[in-house]
Amino acid sequence: MVEVSEELIAGLKKKAVTLRKHIIRMTHNAQSGHPGGSMSACDIVTALYFHVLRVDPTNPTWPDRDRFVLSKGHACPVWYAALAERGFFPVEELMTFRKLNSRLQGHPELGTTPGVENAAGAEGQGLSFSVGLALAARMDHKAWRTYCVLGDGEQDVGQTWEAAMAASKYGLDSLTAFIDRNGIQQEGRTEDIMPLEPLAEKWEAFNWHVLTIDGHDFRQIFAAIEEAHRTRGRPTAVIARTVKGKGVSFMENKIKYHGAATSDDELKLALAELEAMEAAI
Protein backbone atom coordinates (compact mmCIF):
# COMPACT_ATOMS: atom_id res chain seq x y z
CA MET A 1 0.00 0.00 0.00
CA VAL A 2 1.09 3.55 -0.72
CA GLU A 3 2.49 5.49 2.21
CA VAL A 4 -0.18 7.43 4.07
CA SER A 5 0.88 11.08 3.76
CA GLU A 6 -0.63 14.15 5.40
CA GLU A 7 -1.77 15.35 1.98
CA LEU A 8 -3.54 12.08 1.31
CA ILE A 9 -5.35 12.23 4.65
CA ALA A 10 -6.35 15.86 4.11
CA GLY A 11 -7.65 15.04 0.64
CA LEU A 12 -9.69 12.10 1.95
CA LYS A 13 -11.12 14.19 4.77
CA LYS A 14 -12.30 16.74 2.22
CA LYS A 15 -13.77 14.00 0.05
CA ALA A 16 -15.62 12.57 3.04
CA VAL A 17 -17.14 15.98 3.74
CA THR A 18 -18.24 16.16 0.11
CA LEU A 19 -19.89 12.75 0.41
CA ARG A 20 -21.63 13.77 3.64
CA LYS A 21 -23.01 16.87 1.95
CA HIS A 22 -24.34 14.69 -0.86
CA ILE A 23 -25.95 12.33 1.69
CA ILE A 24 -27.69 15.22 3.44
CA ARG A 25 -28.87 16.78 0.18
CA MET A 26 -30.02 13.47 -1.36
CA THR A 27 -32.08 12.41 1.64
CA HIS A 28 -33.44 15.93 2.11
CA ASN A 29 -34.46 16.08 -1.55
CA ALA A 30 -36.15 12.67 -1.29
CA GLN A 31 -37.55 13.50 2.18
CA SER A 32 -36.79 9.90 3.05
CA GLY A 33 -33.84 7.53 3.21
CA HIS A 34 -31.26 6.73 5.86
CA PRO A 35 -28.71 9.48 6.53
CA GLY A 36 -27.45 8.31 9.94
CA GLY A 37 -25.96 4.98 8.88
CA SER A 38 -24.69 6.49 5.63
CA MET A 39 -22.68 9.06 7.57
CA SER A 40 -21.29 6.55 10.07
CA ALA A 41 -19.92 4.41 7.21
CA CYS A 42 -18.73 7.42 5.21
CA ASP A 43 -15.04 7.40 6.16
CA ILE A 44 -14.70 3.65 5.53
CA VAL A 45 -16.36 4.01 2.12
CA THR A 46 -14.21 7.06 1.31
CA ALA A 47 -11.00 5.24 2.26
CA LEU A 48 -11.94 2.26 0.09
CA TYR A 49 -13.17 4.11 -3.01
CA PHE A 50 -10.56 6.85 -3.04
CA HIS A 51 -7.44 4.95 -2.03
CA VAL A 52 -7.84 1.16 -1.86
CA LEU A 53 -10.23 -0.36 -4.40
CA ARG A 54 -8.92 -1.25 -7.83
CA VAL A 55 -11.97 -0.27 -9.87
CA ASP A 56 -12.44 1.39 -13.24
CA PRO A 57 -15.33 3.88 -13.52
CA THR A 58 -15.13 3.64 -17.33
CA ASN A 59 -15.53 -0.14 -17.13
CA PRO A 60 -17.63 -0.90 -14.03
CA THR A 61 -17.79 -4.64 -14.74
CA TRP A 62 -14.03 -5.07 -15.37
CA PRO A 63 -13.60 -8.74 -14.34
CA ASP A 64 -10.45 -8.17 -12.27
CA ARG A 65 -11.83 -5.31 -10.17
CA ASP A 66 -11.99 -5.47 -6.40
CA ARG A 67 -15.51 -6.07 -5.15
CA PHE A 68 -17.26 -3.75 -2.73
CA VAL A 69 -20.46 -5.18 -1.23
CA LEU A 70 -22.76 -3.01 0.87
CA SER A 71 -24.68 -5.44 3.03
CA LYS A 72 -26.40 -2.64 4.97
CA GLY A 73 -28.27 -1.57 1.85
CA HIS A 74 -30.17 1.27 3.52
CA ALA A 75 -26.86 3.17 3.67
CA CYS A 76 -26.75 3.36 -0.13
CA PRO A 77 -26.66 7.19 -0.18
CA VAL A 78 -22.98 6.98 0.83
CA TRP A 79 -22.35 4.37 -1.88
CA TYR A 80 -24.07 6.41 -4.59
CA ALA A 81 -22.22 9.55 -3.47
CA ALA A 82 -18.86 7.75 -3.61
CA LEU A 83 -19.61 6.19 -7.00
CA ALA A 84 -20.65 9.55 -8.44
CA GLU A 85 -17.58 11.33 -7.05
CA ARG A 86 -15.41 8.48 -8.36
CA GLY A 87 -16.88 9.03 -11.85
CA PHE A 88 -19.20 6.06 -12.29
CA PHE A 89 -22.10 8.39 -13.15
CA PRO A 90 -22.77 12.15 -13.08
CA VAL A 91 -22.89 13.83 -9.68
CA GLU A 92 -26.09 15.66 -10.76
CA GLU A 93 -27.85 12.28 -10.91
CA LEU A 94 -27.61 11.99 -7.12
CA MET A 95 -30.64 14.26 -6.80
CA THR A 96 -32.79 11.59 -8.51
CA PHE A 97 -32.30 9.31 -5.48
CA ARG A 98 -35.58 7.57 -4.53
CA LYS A 99 -37.48 9.29 -7.38
CA LEU A 100 -39.55 7.57 -10.06
CA ASN A 101 -37.52 6.30 -13.07
CA SER A 102 -34.21 6.86 -11.26
CA ARG A 103 -31.16 4.59 -11.47
CA LEU A 104 -30.65 5.30 -7.77
CA GLN A 105 -33.17 3.11 -6.00
CA GLY A 106 -34.06 3.47 -2.33
CA HIS A 107 -32.01 0.34 -1.73
CA PRO A 108 -29.29 -0.90 -4.09
CA GLU A 109 -30.28 -2.73 -7.27
CA LEU A 110 -27.74 -4.78 -9.23
CA GLY A 111 -27.46 -4.04 -12.92
CA THR A 112 -29.08 -0.60 -12.80
CA THR A 113 -26.57 1.64 -11.07
CA PRO A 114 -23.04 1.64 -12.53
CA GLY A 115 -20.64 0.34 -9.88
CA VAL A 116 -23.24 -1.25 -7.61
CA GLU A 117 -22.24 -4.87 -6.97
CA ASN A 118 -25.17 -6.33 -5.03
CA ALA A 119 -28.81 -5.88 -4.13
CA ALA A 120 -29.45 -5.22 -0.46
CA GLY A 121 -32.25 -3.99 1.71
CA ALA A 122 -33.33 -7.13 3.45
CA GLU A 123 -30.51 -7.32 5.97
CA GLY A 124 -27.98 -10.06 6.46
CA GLN A 125 -27.39 -11.30 2.90
CA GLY A 126 -24.32 -9.31 1.87
CA LEU A 127 -21.67 -11.27 3.73
CA SER A 128 -22.93 -14.55 2.21
CA PHE A 129 -22.85 -12.93 -1.23
CA SER A 130 -19.27 -11.81 -0.50
CA VAL A 131 -18.34 -15.38 0.45
CA GLY A 132 -19.56 -16.48 -3.00
CA LEU A 133 -17.46 -13.78 -4.66
CA ALA A 134 -14.34 -14.70 -2.67
CA LEU A 135 -14.80 -18.40 -3.45
CA ALA A 136 -15.07 -17.61 -7.17
CA ALA A 137 -11.89 -15.50 -7.05
CA ARG A 138 -10.04 -18.38 -5.45
CA MET A 139 -11.32 -20.93 -7.99
CA ASP A 140 -10.13 -18.70 -10.81
CA HIS A 141 -6.78 -17.90 -9.10
CA LYS A 142 -7.59 -14.20 -9.21
CA ALA A 143 -5.96 -11.58 -7.00
CA TRP A 144 -8.95 -9.29 -6.60
CA ARG A 145 -10.27 -8.80 -3.11
CA THR A 146 -13.75 -8.51 -1.62
CA TYR A 147 -14.73 -5.86 0.93
CA CYS A 148 -18.09 -6.07 2.64
CA VAL A 149 -19.59 -3.36 4.84
CA LEU A 150 -22.14 -4.61 7.35
CA GLY A 151 -24.26 -2.74 9.84
CA ASP A 152 -24.28 -3.63 13.50
CA GLY A 153 -28.05 -4.12 13.37
CA GLU A 154 -27.31 -6.87 10.85
CA GLN A 155 -25.47 -8.76 13.55
CA ASP A 156 -28.97 -9.76 14.74
CA VAL A 157 -29.54 -11.71 11.52
CA GLY A 158 -28.83 -15.43 11.65
CA GLN A 159 -27.59 -15.52 8.07
CA THR A 160 -24.71 -13.19 8.99
CA TRP A 161 -23.36 -15.94 11.22
CA GLU A 162 -24.01 -18.67 8.64
CA ALA A 163 -21.77 -16.62 6.35
CA ALA A 164 -19.20 -16.08 9.11
CA MET A 165 -18.87 -19.86 9.55
CA ALA A 166 -18.60 -20.49 5.81
CA ALA A 167 -15.93 -17.82 5.32
CA SER A 168 -13.73 -19.24 8.05
CA LYS A 169 -14.36 -22.84 6.93
CA TYR A 170 -12.96 -21.95 3.52
CA GLY A 171 -10.22 -19.69 4.95
CA LEU A 172 -11.24 -16.78 2.72
CA ASP A 173 -8.35 -14.41 3.39
CA SER A 174 -9.25 -12.22 0.39
CA LEU A 175 -12.44 -11.21 2.23
CA THR A 176 -12.50 -8.26 4.62
CA ALA A 177 -15.68 -7.36 6.50
CA PHE A 178 -16.17 -3.93 8.04
CA ILE A 179 -18.77 -3.82 10.78
CA ASP A 180 -20.08 -0.28 11.09
CA ARG A 181 -20.45 -0.31 14.87
CA ASN A 182 -22.48 2.85 15.37
CA GLY A 183 -24.50 1.29 18.17
CA ILE A 184 -27.91 2.31 16.86
CA GLN A 185 -30.49 0.45 14.82
CA GLN A 186 -33.96 1.46 13.65
CA GLU A 187 -35.75 1.35 16.96
CA GLY A 188 -33.01 2.12 19.44
CA ARG A 189 -29.56 1.29 20.82
CA THR A 190 -28.31 -2.08 19.64
CA GLU A 191 -27.60 -3.08 23.23
CA ASP A 192 -31.25 -2.45 24.14
CA ILE A 193 -32.82 -4.03 21.06
CA MET A 194 -30.60 -7.13 21.01
CA PRO A 195 -27.29 -6.99 22.89
CA LEU A 196 -24.30 -7.73 20.66
CA GLU A 197 -21.41 -7.47 23.09
CA PRO A 198 -18.95 -9.04 23.36
CA LEU A 199 -18.95 -8.60 19.57
CA ALA A 200 -15.23 -8.94 18.81
CA GLU A 201 -15.13 -12.16 20.80
CA LYS A 202 -18.06 -13.49 18.76
CA TRP A 203 -16.17 -12.96 15.49
CA GLU A 204 -13.02 -14.43 17.04
CA ALA A 205 -15.02 -17.47 18.12
CA PHE A 206 -16.05 -17.87 14.47
CA ASN A 207 -12.33 -18.05 13.62
CA TRP A 208 -12.00 -14.66 11.98
CA HIS A 209 -9.01 -12.38 12.38
CA VAL A 210 -10.57 -9.49 14.30
CA LEU A 211 -9.48 -5.87 14.60
CA THR A 212 -11.23 -3.05 16.43
CA ILE A 213 -10.60 0.47 15.18
CA ASP A 214 -11.94 4.02 15.18
CA GLY A 215 -13.96 3.96 11.97
CA HIS A 216 -13.49 7.69 11.45
CA ASP A 217 -9.67 7.62 11.56
CA PHE A 218 -8.21 7.09 8.08
CA ARG A 219 -4.83 5.94 9.40
CA GLN A 220 -6.52 3.23 11.48
CA ILE A 221 -8.69 2.19 8.53
CA PHE A 222 -5.63 1.82 6.28
CA ALA A 223 -3.67 -0.02 8.97
CA ALA A 224 -6.56 -2.47 9.34
CA ILE A 225 -6.72 -3.05 5.59
CA GLU A 226 -2.97 -3.63 5.46
CA GLU A 227 -3.20 -6.12 8.27
CA ALA A 228 -6.11 -7.87 6.51
CA HIS A 229 -3.97 -8.13 3.35
CA ARG A 230 -1.10 -9.66 5.35
CA THR A 231 -3.36 -12.17 7.13
CA ARG A 232 -3.26 -15.62 5.54
CA GLY A 233 -5.81 -18.40 5.87
CA ARG A 234 -8.50 -16.39 7.63
CA PRO A 235 -10.93 -13.62 6.71
CA THR A 236 -10.62 -10.37 8.63
CA ALA A 237 -13.42 -8.62 10.50
CA VAL A 238 -12.81 -4.96 11.25
CA ILE A 239 -15.12 -3.72 13.98
CA ALA A 240 -15.17 -0.03 13.18
CA ARG A 241 -16.39 2.06 16.10
CA THR A 242 -18.36 4.85 14.51
CA VAL A 243 -20.88 7.56 15.33
CA LYS A 244 -24.29 7.43 13.70
CA GLY A 245 -24.89 10.70 11.84
CA LYS A 246 -21.17 11.57 12.12
CA GLY A 247 -20.29 15.06 10.91
CA VAL A 248 -23.43 17.00 11.80
CA SER A 249 -23.68 17.81 15.50
CA PHE A 250 -27.45 17.60 15.89
CA MET A 251 -27.61 14.29 13.99
CA GLU A 252 -24.83 12.51 15.83
CA ASN A 253 -25.91 9.57 17.95
CA LYS A 254 -29.58 10.30 17.33
CA ILE A 255 -31.85 7.30 16.75
CA LYS A 256 -34.22 9.54 14.78
CA TYR A 257 -31.76 10.02 11.91
CA HIS A 258 -31.49 6.31 11.18
CA GLY A 259 -34.40 6.74 8.81
CA ALA A 260 -35.40 10.41 8.74
CA ALA A 261 -34.39 13.19 6.37
CA THR A 262 -33.57 16.71 7.50
CA SER A 263 -36.10 19.55 7.37
CA ASP A 264 -35.36 22.69 5.30
CA ASP A 265 -33.93 24.50 8.32
CA GLU A 266 -31.90 21.48 9.40
CA LEU A 267 -30.51 21.15 5.89
CA LYS A 268 -29.06 24.68 6.05
CA LEU A 269 -27.57 24.07 9.50
CA ALA A 270 -26.10 20.73 8.45
CA LEU A 271 -24.53 22.08 5.29
CA ALA A 272 -23.13 25.10 7.17
CA GLU A 273 -21.50 22.78 9.70
CA LEU A 274 -20.02 20.59 6.99
CA GLU A 275 -18.71 23.60 5.07
CA ALA A 276 -17.05 24.92 8.23
CA MET A 277 -15.51 21.50 8.73
CA GLU A 278 -14.21 21.48 5.16
CA ALA A 279 -12.69 24.93 5.55
CA ALA A 280 -10.86 23.81 8.68
CA ILE A 281 -9.10 20.88 6.95
Binding site: L110, E117, G124, Q125, F129, S130, G132, A136, E162, Y170
Partner: protein, 290 residues
Protein backbone atom coordinates in the same frame (compact mmCIF):
# COMPACT_ATOMS: atom_id res chain seq x y z
CA UNK B 1 -20.35 -24.99 -13.11
CA UNK B 2 -20.30 -25.14 -9.32
CA UNK B 3 -22.60 -26.94 -6.89
CA UNK B 4 -23.45 -25.57 -3.45
CA UNK B 5 -24.97 -27.91 -0.91
CA UNK B 6 -26.57 -27.86 2.52
CA UNK B 7 -25.88 -31.18 4.25
CA UNK B 8 -28.06 -33.10 1.79
CA UNK B 9 -25.46 -33.80 -0.91
CA UNK B 10 -25.50 -37.55 -0.45
CA UNK B 11 -29.27 -38.04 -0.57
CA UNK B 12 -29.75 -35.80 -3.59
CA UNK B 13 -26.63 -37.21 -5.30
CA UNK B 14 -24.69 -33.99 -5.79
CA UNK B 15 -21.94 -35.77 -3.86
CA UNK B 16 -21.22 -37.61 -7.12
CA UNK B 17 -20.46 -34.23 -8.71
CA UNK B 18 -18.11 -33.57 -5.80
CA UNK B 19 -16.31 -36.86 -6.41
CA UNK B 20 -15.70 -35.87 -10.03
CA UNK B 21 -14.91 -32.21 -9.22
CA UNK B 22 -13.83 -31.94 -5.57
CA UNK B 23 -13.03 -28.22 -5.78
CA UNK B 24 -16.43 -27.37 -7.19
CA UNK B 25 -18.77 -28.85 -4.61
CA UNK B 26 -19.13 -26.35 -1.78
CA UNK B 27 -20.61 -27.82 1.38
CA UNK B 28 -22.21 -25.07 3.46
CA UNK B 29 -24.01 -27.04 6.14
CA UNK B 30 -27.59 -26.58 7.31
CA UNK B 31 -27.65 -22.93 6.30
CA UNK B 32 -29.80 -22.58 3.20
CA UNK B 33 -30.15 -18.77 3.19
CA UNK B 34 -26.35 -18.57 3.17
CA UNK B 35 -26.22 -21.25 0.47
CA UNK B 36 -28.47 -19.23 -1.85
CA UNK B 37 -26.56 -15.97 -1.31
CA UNK B 38 -23.21 -17.71 -1.77
CA UNK B 39 -24.56 -19.08 -5.06
CA UNK B 40 -25.55 -15.53 -6.03
CA UNK B 41 -22.04 -14.28 -5.27
CA UNK B 42 -20.52 -17.08 -7.34
CA UNK B 43 -22.85 -16.19 -10.21
CA UNK B 44 -21.95 -12.50 -9.93
CA UNK B 45 -18.33 -13.53 -10.49
CA UNK B 46 -19.19 -15.56 -13.60
CA UNK B 47 -19.81 -19.08 -12.29
CA UNK B 48 -22.91 -21.16 -13.05
CA UNK B 49 -23.89 -22.26 -9.56
CA UNK B 50 -26.41 -25.02 -8.90
CA UNK B 51 -27.86 -24.75 -5.41
CA UNK B 52 -29.34 -28.15 -4.64
CA UNK B 53 -31.18 -29.42 -1.62
CA UNK B 54 -34.66 -30.50 -0.48
CA UNK B 55 -37.49 -28.37 -1.88
CA UNK B 56 -38.86 -27.20 1.45
CA UNK B 57 -35.50 -25.68 2.36
CA UNK B 58 -34.54 -24.54 -1.13
CA UNK B 59 -37.76 -22.59 -1.66
CA UNK B 60 -39.82 -21.69 1.41
CA UNK B 61 -37.00 -21.37 3.93
CA UNK B 62 -34.98 -19.17 1.58
CA UNK B 63 -37.78 -17.27 -0.14
CA UNK B 64 -36.67 -13.71 0.50
CA UNK B 65 -33.03 -14.54 -0.17
CA UNK B 66 -34.01 -15.95 -3.57
CA UNK B 67 -36.18 -12.91 -4.18
CA UNK B 68 -33.52 -10.29 -3.34
CA UNK B 69 -30.21 -12.02 -4.10
CA UNK B 70 -31.17 -14.19 -7.09
CA UNK B 71 -34.24 -12.84 -8.91
CA UNK B 72 -34.02 -9.08 -8.26
CA UNK B 73 -30.33 -9.29 -9.19
CA UNK B 74 -31.24 -11.48 -12.21
CA UNK B 75 -28.21 -13.64 -11.49
CA UNK B 76 -27.44 -16.94 -13.16
CA UNK B 77 -28.34 -19.18 -10.21
CA UNK B 78 -29.98 -22.58 -10.70
CA UNK B 79 -31.93 -23.88 -7.73
CA UNK B 80 -32.55 -27.60 -8.16
CA UNK B 81 -34.66 -29.17 -5.46
CA UNK B 82 -35.60 -32.75 -4.81
CA UNK B 83 -38.06 -34.17 -2.23
CA UNK B 84 -40.95 -32.00 -3.41
CA UNK B 85 -44.56 -32.83 -2.68
CA UNK B 86 -46.35 -35.54 -0.73
CA UNK B 87 -44.20 -38.40 -2.01
CA UNK B 88 -41.38 -37.56 0.42
CA UNK B 89 -43.55 -39.93 2.43
CA UNK B 90 -42.78 -40.98 6.02
CA UNK B 91 -40.91 -37.76 6.87
CA UNK B 92 -44.31 -36.11 7.04
CA UNK B 93 -45.77 -32.66 6.46
CA UNK B 94 -42.69 -30.70 7.58
CA UNK B 95 -40.82 -32.06 4.57
CA UNK B 96 -43.70 -32.38 2.08
CA UNK B 97 -43.76 -28.97 0.49
CA UNK B 98 -46.81 -28.55 -1.72
CA UNK B 99 -46.42 -24.78 -2.05
CA UNK B 100 -43.06 -24.26 -3.77
CA UNK B 101 -44.42 -23.87 -7.33
CA UNK B 102 -46.79 -21.20 -6.02
CA UNK B 103 -43.95 -19.39 -4.26
CA UNK B 104 -41.51 -19.51 -7.15
CA UNK B 105 -43.86 -18.66 -9.99
CA UNK B 106 -44.80 -15.49 -8.16
CA UNK B 107 -41.27 -14.10 -8.32
CA UNK B 108 -40.51 -11.90 -11.35
CA UNK B 109 -37.72 -13.21 -13.66
CA UNK B 110 -37.92 -16.75 -12.26
CA UNK B 111 -38.11 -19.73 -14.60
CA UNK B 112 -39.91 -22.68 -12.99
CA UNK B 113 -39.39 -26.25 -14.19
CA UNK B 114 -41.06 -29.49 -13.08
CA UNK B 115 -39.65 -32.49 -14.99
CA UNK B 116 -41.79 -35.59 -15.40
CA UNK B 117 -39.10 -38.24 -14.94
CA UNK B 118 -35.38 -39.02 -14.93
CA UNK B 119 -34.55 -38.30 -18.59
CA UNK B 120 -36.43 -35.02 -18.47
CA UNK B 121 -34.67 -34.00 -15.24
CA UNK B 122 -31.33 -34.45 -17.03
CA UNK B 123 -32.61 -32.24 -19.85
CA UNK B 124 -33.67 -29.61 -17.32
CA UNK B 125 -30.12 -29.53 -15.92
CA UNK B 126 -28.65 -29.00 -19.39
CA UNK B 127 -31.24 -26.43 -20.44
CA UNK B 128 -30.96 -24.50 -17.17
CA UNK B 129 -27.18 -24.37 -17.48
CA UNK B 130 -27.47 -23.20 -21.08
CA UNK B 131 -29.82 -20.28 -20.35
CA UNK B 132 -28.96 -17.02 -18.56
CA UNK B 133 -30.94 -16.16 -15.46
CA UNK B 134 -32.51 -17.68 -12.36
CA UNK B 135 -34.16 -21.10 -12.52
CA UNK B 136 -36.07 -23.11 -9.94
CA UNK B 137 -36.53 -26.80 -10.74
CA UNK B 138 -38.43 -29.19 -8.47
CA UNK B 139 -38.70 -32.94 -8.57
CA UNK B 140 -39.70 -35.80 -6.31
CA UNK B 141 -37.83 -38.27 -4.16
CA UNK B 142 -39.96 -41.27 -5.09
CA UNK B 143 -39.31 -43.57 -8.03
CA UNK B 144 -41.33 -42.52 -11.06
CA UNK B 145 -42.12 -44.38 -14.28
CA UNK B 146 -40.23 -43.11 -17.29
CA UNK B 147 -42.68 -41.39 -19.61
CA UNK B 148 -40.33 -39.34 -21.77
CA UNK B 149 -37.52 -40.49 -23.95
CA UNK B 150 -34.05 -39.06 -24.26
CA UNK B 151 -34.87 -38.52 -27.97
CA UNK B 152 -37.88 -36.28 -27.18
CA UNK B 153 -37.26 -32.64 -27.88
CA UNK B 154 -37.09 -30.38 -24.86
CA UNK B 155 -37.10 -26.63 -24.60
CA UNK B 156 -37.76 -24.36 -21.65
CA UNK B 157 -41.09 -22.65 -22.22
CA UNK B 158 -42.50 -25.42 -24.45
CA UNK B 159 -45.23 -27.74 -23.21
CA UNK B 160 -45.22 -31.10 -24.96
CA UNK B 161 -48.30 -32.95 -26.18
CA UNK B 162 -47.44 -36.52 -25.17
CA UNK B 163 -50.72 -38.03 -26.36
CA UNK B 164 -53.20 -36.55 -28.78
CA UNK B 165 -56.93 -36.43 -28.17
CA UNK B 166 -60.03 -34.41 -29.02
CA UNK B 167 -62.63 -34.55 -26.22
CA UNK B 168 -60.66 -32.86 -23.45
CA UNK B 169 -57.07 -32.21 -22.32
CA UNK B 170 -55.25 -33.47 -19.25
CA UNK B 171 -52.38 -31.17 -18.27
CA UNK B 172 -49.93 -32.58 -15.74
CA UNK B 173 -46.48 -31.86 -14.37
CA UNK B 174 -43.91 -33.97 -12.56
CA UNK B 175 -45.03 -37.37 -11.35
CA UNK B 176 -48.63 -36.58 -12.40
CA UNK B 177 -47.79 -36.82 -16.12
CA UNK B 178 -47.64 -40.62 -15.83
CA UNK B 179 -51.00 -40.57 -14.02
CA UNK B 180 -52.53 -38.38 -16.73
CA UNK B 181 -51.40 -40.95 -19.33
CA UNK B 182 -52.92 -43.72 -17.24
CA UNK B 183 -56.17 -41.74 -16.94
CA UNK B 184 -56.23 -41.17 -20.71
CA UNK B 185 -56.14 -44.95 -21.21
CA UNK B 186 -59.01 -45.42 -18.75
CA UNK B 187 -61.02 -42.71 -20.55
CA UNK B 188 -60.34 -44.32 -23.90
CA UNK B 189 -62.27 -47.40 -22.75
CA UNK B 190 -65.27 -45.08 -22.30
CA UNK B 191 -64.71 -43.66 -25.79
CA UNK B 192 -63.46 -40.36 -24.37
CA UNK B 193 -60.41 -39.17 -26.27
CA UNK B 194 -58.08 -37.25 -23.94
CA UNK B 195 -55.10 -35.18 -25.01
CA UNK B 196 -52.22 -35.22 -22.50
CA UNK B 197 -49.80 -32.34 -22.08
CA UNK B 198 -46.57 -32.51 -20.08
CA UNK B 199 -46.26 -29.03 -18.58
CA UNK B 200 -42.60 -29.30 -17.58
CA UNK B 201 -42.15 -25.52 -17.76
CA UNK B 202 -44.57 -23.84 -15.36
CA UNK B 203 -43.05 -20.44 -16.03
CA UNK B 204 -42.86 -19.03 -18.64
CA UNK B 205 -46.14 -20.74 -19.49
CA UNK B 206 -46.61 -22.09 -23.02
CA UNK B 207 -49.77 -20.09 -23.72
CA UNK B 208 -50.03 -21.23 -27.37
CA UNK B 209 -50.18 -24.93 -26.53
CA UNK B 210 -52.67 -24.35 -23.71
CA UNK B 211 -54.84 -22.07 -25.83
CA UNK B 212 -54.86 -24.63 -28.65
CA UNK B 213 -55.91 -27.36 -26.20
CA UNK B 214 -58.77 -25.19 -24.91
CA UNK B 215 -59.99 -24.36 -28.42
CA UNK B 216 -59.59 -27.85 -29.90
CA UNK B 217 -60.76 -30.02 -26.97
CA UNK B 218 -63.06 -27.69 -25.02
CA UNK B 219 -62.23 -28.86 -21.49
CA UNK B 220 -59.19 -29.14 -19.23
CA UNK B 221 -58.14 -31.14 -16.18
CA UNK B 222 -54.89 -30.19 -14.44
CA UNK B 223 -52.96 -32.58 -12.20
CA UNK B 224 -50.10 -31.65 -9.87
CA UNK B 225 -48.38 -32.98 -6.76
CA UNK B 226 -48.84 -29.54 -5.23
CA UNK B 227 -51.55 -27.41 -3.69
CA UNK B 228 -54.26 -26.29 -6.11
CA UNK B 229 -53.75 -22.80 -4.62
CA UNK B 230 -51.52 -20.96 -7.12
CA UNK B 231 -50.13 -24.14 -8.67
CA UNK B 232 -50.27 -25.20 -12.32
CA UNK B 233 -54.07 -25.49 -12.20
CA UNK B 234 -54.30 -21.83 -11.23
CA UNK B 235 -51.76 -20.88 -13.89
CA UNK B 236 -53.66 -22.75 -16.63
CA UNK B 237 -57.05 -21.43 -15.43
CA UNK B 238 -55.76 -17.89 -15.55
CA UNK B 239 -54.35 -18.41 -19.03
CA UNK B 240 -57.52 -19.89 -20.54
CA UNK B 241 -59.77 -17.37 -18.76
CA UNK B 242 -57.96 -14.60 -20.63
CA UNK B 243 -58.11 -16.31 -24.02
CA UNK B 244 -60.72 -19.02 -24.49
CA UNK B 245 -62.56 -19.99 -21.29
CA UNK B 246 -63.57 -23.66 -21.08
CA UNK B 247 -64.56 -25.81 -18.07
CA UNK B 248 -61.56 -26.76 -15.93
CA UNK B 249 -61.03 -29.06 -12.93
CA UNK B 250 -57.94 -29.23 -10.75
CA UNK B 251 -56.51 -32.42 -9.29
CA UNK B 252 -53.98 -31.66 -6.56
CA UNK B 253 -53.57 -31.15 -2.85
CA UNK B 254 -56.68 -29.34 -1.59
CA UNK B 255 -55.19 -26.60 0.61
CA UNK B 256 -54.16 -29.00 3.40
CA UNK B 257 -50.91 -30.27 4.89
CA UNK B 258 -49.81 -33.85 4.30
CA UNK B 259 -48.80 -36.46 6.87
CA UNK B 260 -46.52 -39.49 7.29
CA UNK B 261 -47.16 -42.48 5.09
CA UNK B 262 -45.76 -44.28 2.07
CA UNK B 263 -45.76 -42.33 -1.18
CA UNK B 264 -48.49 -44.38 -2.88
CA UNK B 265 -50.68 -44.36 0.22
CA UNK B 266 -50.44 -40.58 0.41
CA UNK B 267 -51.22 -40.08 -3.26
CA UNK B 268 -54.35 -42.22 -2.81
CA UNK B 269 -55.47 -40.53 0.41
CA UNK B 270 -55.00 -37.03 -0.99
CA UNK B 271 -56.64 -37.82 -4.32
CA UNK B 272 -53.67 -37.69 -6.68
CA UNK B 273 -54.53 -40.79 -8.74
CA UNK B 274 -55.51 -41.67 -12.29
CA UNK B 275 -59.00 -42.49 -11.00
CA UNK B 276 -59.38 -38.98 -9.57
CA UNK B 277 -58.25 -37.52 -12.89
CA UNK B 278 -60.92 -39.63 -14.64
CA UNK B 279 -63.57 -38.34 -12.19
CA UNK B 280 -62.44 -34.78 -12.85
CA UNK B 281 -62.64 -35.46 -16.60
CA UNK B 282 -66.24 -36.66 -16.24
CA UNK B 283 -67.06 -33.50 -14.29
CA UNK B 284 -65.52 -31.29 -16.99
CA UNK B 285 -67.32 -33.10 -19.82
CA UNK B 286 -70.64 -32.89 -17.93
CA UNK B 287 -70.23 -29.15 -17.30
CA UNK B 288 -69.24 -28.49 -20.88
CA UNK B 289 -72.16 -30.41 -22.37
CA UNK B 290 -74.74 -28.92 -20.00
Amino acid sequence: MVVVGADTTESIKTLDFGKAFPDRLIQLGIAEPNMISVAAGLAAAGKIPFAATYSVFGSAHTYNVIRQNVAYTNLNVKIFCSHAGLTVGPDGATHQINEDIALMRGIPRMTVLVPADGPETAKCVDAAAAMKGPVYCRFSRTNVPTVTSSEDGFAIGKARVVRDGFDLTLIGCGIMVARCLEAAQLLEREKISARVINLSTVKPLDLATIDRAARETGGIVTAEEHTVVHGIGAAVASAIASNHPVPIAMVGVQDVFGESGEAEELLRKYGLTAEKIVEAAHDVVKRRDR
